[in-house]
């Protein structure tokens, strides 16, 4: 019964981690909740606080998944309470589960690409209901996944559960996560497919060089791109002005835009 409640909460927290983002999935919140469920609120509170600090810097940047905070927080707290161990020890127990969850989430994100193409079909038909429905699949999946991952170790005990986790061959997990890392290339290729013209190649190249060689952050590149675009924009203005009048460039015309932007 307690295992089911823990699983349910894990499912909710799992959804919140990606959708909703109210951050009730952080250990600082899940800790006391698990504490309530397992009957030791104070210990849950303490364990949650410890785990919150452990996960402080592990945030998902650009889609890269750190060891899963939900599973880490919930299993860590649960075992701290069930085994009566110090929260610091609980961290050690929680980490392998958090890493396994991280691997499987990466896998789900990799395997989910095809759904996008079904969505394209619906888009082509203007079927917005269909798109809506597809967007509900992953949250449901995550609910089930997080429920199971949290339920099992509580139900069977940590050791048994860890064995199951270790059955996956490493190259498979690694291979999928490598594939996931490469995957955005397809997304960019599709963007290029609809945006690219030969005459735009220089801008693409400048953006690439600025990051690959110069190591600039995206914001800096965007400022440079914007500067080029503005220069080009006003150059076009002058092109059009100069053509019919055949006269000298009229700088003053540019002033008109000054309050517009």
């Amino acid at each position: 019964m307690e295992a089911i409640l823990v699983g349910l909460w894990a499912g909710i927290a799992g959804i919140d981690q990606f959708v909703g983002l109210t951050h009730l999935h952080r250990p600082i919140v899940t800790g006391p909740i698990i504490g309530l469920i397992l009957g030791d609120l104070t210990l849950g509170l303490m364990a949650g606080a410890t785990l919150e600090l452990v996960w402080a810097g592990m945030v998902p940047l650009a889609g890269a998944q750190p060891p899963n905070v939900v599973i880490g927080g919930i299993i860590g707290t649960a075992f701290a309470i069930l085994t009566g161990q110090d929260p610091d020890v609980a961290v050690g127990i929680a980490v392998p589960f958090a890493v396994a969850a991280q691997a499987i989430i990466t896998l789900i994100f990799t395997a989910f690409s095809p759904v996008m193409h079904k969505m394209d079909d619906f888009a082509r038909d203007g079927d917005t209901k269909g798109i809506d429905r597809l967007n509900y699949i992953q949250p449901v999946l995550f609910f089930i996944f997080f429920f199971v991952i949290a339920f099992l170790p509580i139900y069977f005990g940590a050791e048994q559960a860890a064995n199951i986790v270790n059955m996956l061959p490493e190259w498979l997990i690694n291979g999928l996560s490598v594939a996931g890392g490469i995957m955005p290339a397809i997304g960019f290729a599709m963007l290029l497919n609809i945006m690219f013209k030969v005459s735009y190649a220089p801008f693409f190249a400048i953006g690439f060089v600025a990051v690959a060689y110069g190591g600039l952050p995206i914001l800096a590149v965007a400022i440079v791109g914007l500067s080029i675009a503005m220069y080009d924009y006003f150059m076009n203005d002058r092109l059009q002005t100069s053509a019919p009048s055949s006269g000298p460039v009229k700088e003053d015309d540019e002033e008109d835009y000054s309050d517009g932007i």
Binding site: V59, A111, M116, T128, G181, I182, P184, A189, G207, L219
Partner: protein, 276 residues
């Protein structure tokens, strides 16, 4: 990808009318919570983004072809920080409402997503979260149950406050900008595309994680293929080549699904033989 080539830059129904009201915008703020509902490594938040603006698109594009073009176009790669998404929604919806050329809308969208992603990560994941979480944790260690409660309240006041504010702010900003630039759509399209493609070039170099983990042991001399060969030729070489290769396959009519399959196979094989 031949179907996507049917996205036309100009709308069939060009009539401009203000159809979105505050309620519509607020509804789409709620929908924006599902931004990552179809997260995947090909298009990232593309699906959730489309989902989040569907009510607006439906109201704006009563013409079926226009709607389908808009949906298809928005369903592409998209990724930004989830808390700043409503700003993009606001700007883009204003442009849709004004029936801007698809090219322009796309350029602006792509130009916005990269910088907002970086700024948002710095502000929320690396600042707001550790600060609120840290303070809550220090309360909780003293056994004070107020820690988690205050955390949820403080964090979400900022979170939801921003979502609603940025939607209306973005929409207002979009509307104003659009008015000024209306007469020169051709030039604005070009400008938007320039920024957009510059950002895409930057994203290719920074978002694609394609490195070999391969050291050849030549006699007693180890040669690290990634660092000593590929990076010496050009940093970001594999991401660039692979993107160009995918682009070329798409142009050749290959389906994106085939590309995904190919990518998974590359990852698995590379991992199996131990060079990735």
């Amino acid at each position: 990808m031949k179907e996507q080539e049917t996205i036309t830059d100009d709308h069939q129904d060009k009539s401009v009318e203000k159809v979105l009201n505050k309620k519509d915008l607020n509804q789409m703020v709620w929908r924006s919570l599902l931004l990552q509902s179809s997260f995947n490594y090909e298009r990232m938040q593309g699906g959730g983004w489309t989902y989040s603006i569907i009510p607006g698109l439906k109201k704006i594009h009563t013409n079926k072809k226009d709607l389908s073009d808009a949906l298809l176009d928005h369903n592409q790669f998209f990724n930004t920080h989830p808390f700043l998404i409503t700003f993009v929604q606001g700007v883009i919806l204003a442009m849709e409402e004004n029936k801007e050329k698809r090219e322009t809308i796309r350029g602006i969208k792509v130009a916005l997503m990269g910088p907002l992603g970086g700024i948002g990560d710095a502000l929320f994941w690396l600042t707001l979260l550790p600060i609120t979480g840290g303070i809550a944790a220090s309360l909780a260690t003293e056994g004070n149950i107020a820690g988690p409660i205050l955390f949820l309240i403080a964090f979400n006041i900022v979170h939801f406050g921003l979502r609603f504010f940025l939607m209306h702010y973005g929409y207002g900003m979009g509307t104003r900008a659009v008015k000024v630039l209306k007469e020169s759509t051709q030039k604005v399209s070009r400008a938007a595309s320039i920024v957009g493609l510059t950002v895409v070039g930057a994203l290719v170099a920074s978002y694609i994680n394609f490195n070999l983990d391969w050291t050849i042991q030549a006699g007693e001399i180890p040669v690290n293929i990634q660092e000593e060969v590929l990076n010496a030729i050009m940093p970001g070489l594999l991401p660039l080549l692979y993107t160009v290769f995918c682009y070329w396959l798409l142009k050749k009519g290959r389906s994106p699904l085939a590309l995904i399959g190919m990518t998974v196979v590359i990852g698995l094989v590379g991992s199996f033989i131990g060079i990735m």
